[in-house]
């Protein structure tokens, strides 16, 4: 568990890379219960005018917080987590989409020993999440 006293605003605390394949999307659909067909069917994605099969926003959100959870060593220390979905992650039928995540200290609340971490999640050099903020208890 990281120590609150050692944190500084601007400090990067975690970073990681993840590979999103079609398998990842099917696995997430099953685990979450979100079977919207735009996440695994090219024909339907095309028919509704999307650039291709998209990763569930919730998959991207769920994965993006994992470097923070590993850094904390405890998912139960996450108090509040919100994101805006700004750009889709397009997942090709073969190979994978590489998603990069980093977490930086944005705000410290010494009285309550809470910290706000801001996440940057990118795919092909674009940020795919906006206002991705996690409040954690230390």
């Amino acid at each position: 568990m990281p120590r609150f006293e050692e944190l500084e605003v601007g400090q990067q605390v975690a970073a990681s890379e993840y590979k999103f394949s079609r398998d990842s999307l099917v696995r997430y659909a099953g685990a979450s219960g979100d079977f919207n067909t735009i996440h695994y069917r090219d024909d339907i994605a095309q028919a509704v005018g999307l650039p291709g099969v998209l990763a569930h926003g919730m998959l991207t959100m769920g994965v993006s917080v994992q470097p923070v959870v590993s850094w904390l060593g405890d998912a139960g220390k996450v108090l509040d987590y919100g994101v805006r979905f700004t750009k889709p992650v397009v997942v090709p039928p073969y190979g994978y989409a590489l998603v990069k995540v980093s977490a930086t200290v944005a705000q410290l609340d010494a009285e309550n020993r809470k910290a706000r971490l801001d996440l940057t999640t990118s795919f092909e050099e674009n940020n795919v999440l906006g206002k991705a903020q996690v409040w954690v208890q230390l």
Binding site: V48, Q66, R84
Partner: protein
């Protein structure tokens, strides 16, 4: 596309959902989580009675409430045109395997923006003691023709 009159509508509570340990592991693997969400001994060494869910796990409960709205003929939401706009989870306490949860959804707002509709849902998740454990706030964008 979306019936604006559903703003403020509150849907009935979903049936109790028992958070299963293997379901937590299945979800954790799907979001590429580490041993924190998979290892029972580790969770217990952190002081929990069972596995702690990954932070976005309440979406599984929220989804049950959303299905009720999407199936509501009054709401008139075309699922195939739905894109997720934003999402937030506010925790009152950690959720662990063994918790029995229900959810209650309210349509917080319906807005129109450039031919699209934006619907914000607030889903309150309660445990078996009827204590609030988490609030899930979600905005769906229903894309226009």
């Amino acid at each position: 596309m979306v019936n604006p009159e559903i703003q403020g509508k509150r849907y009935p509570r979903t049936p109790r959902y028992l958070v299963g340990r293997e379901k937590v592991r299945e979800f954790a693997k799907a979001v590429m989580a580490g041993h924190e969400s998979l290892d029972l001994d580790y969770a217990r060494s952190n002081g929990y009675s069972d596995l702690v869910v990954p932070p976005t796990f309440p979406v599984v409960i929220q989804e049950q409430s959303l299905q009720v709205v999407l199936a509501d003929p009054e709401a008139k939401i075309d699922f195939s045109r739905v894109v997720h706009g934003d999402q937030r989870f506010v925790y009152e306490r950690p959720i662990v395997a063994g918790d029995e949860l229900t959810s209650e959804l309210e349509v917080a707002s319906v807005k129109s923006l450039g031919g699209n509709h934006m619907v914000t849902f607030e889903t309150k998740i309660f445990d078996a003691n009827d204590s609030l454990v988490c609030t899930a706030i979600s905005t769906l964008v229903v894309r226009g023709e």
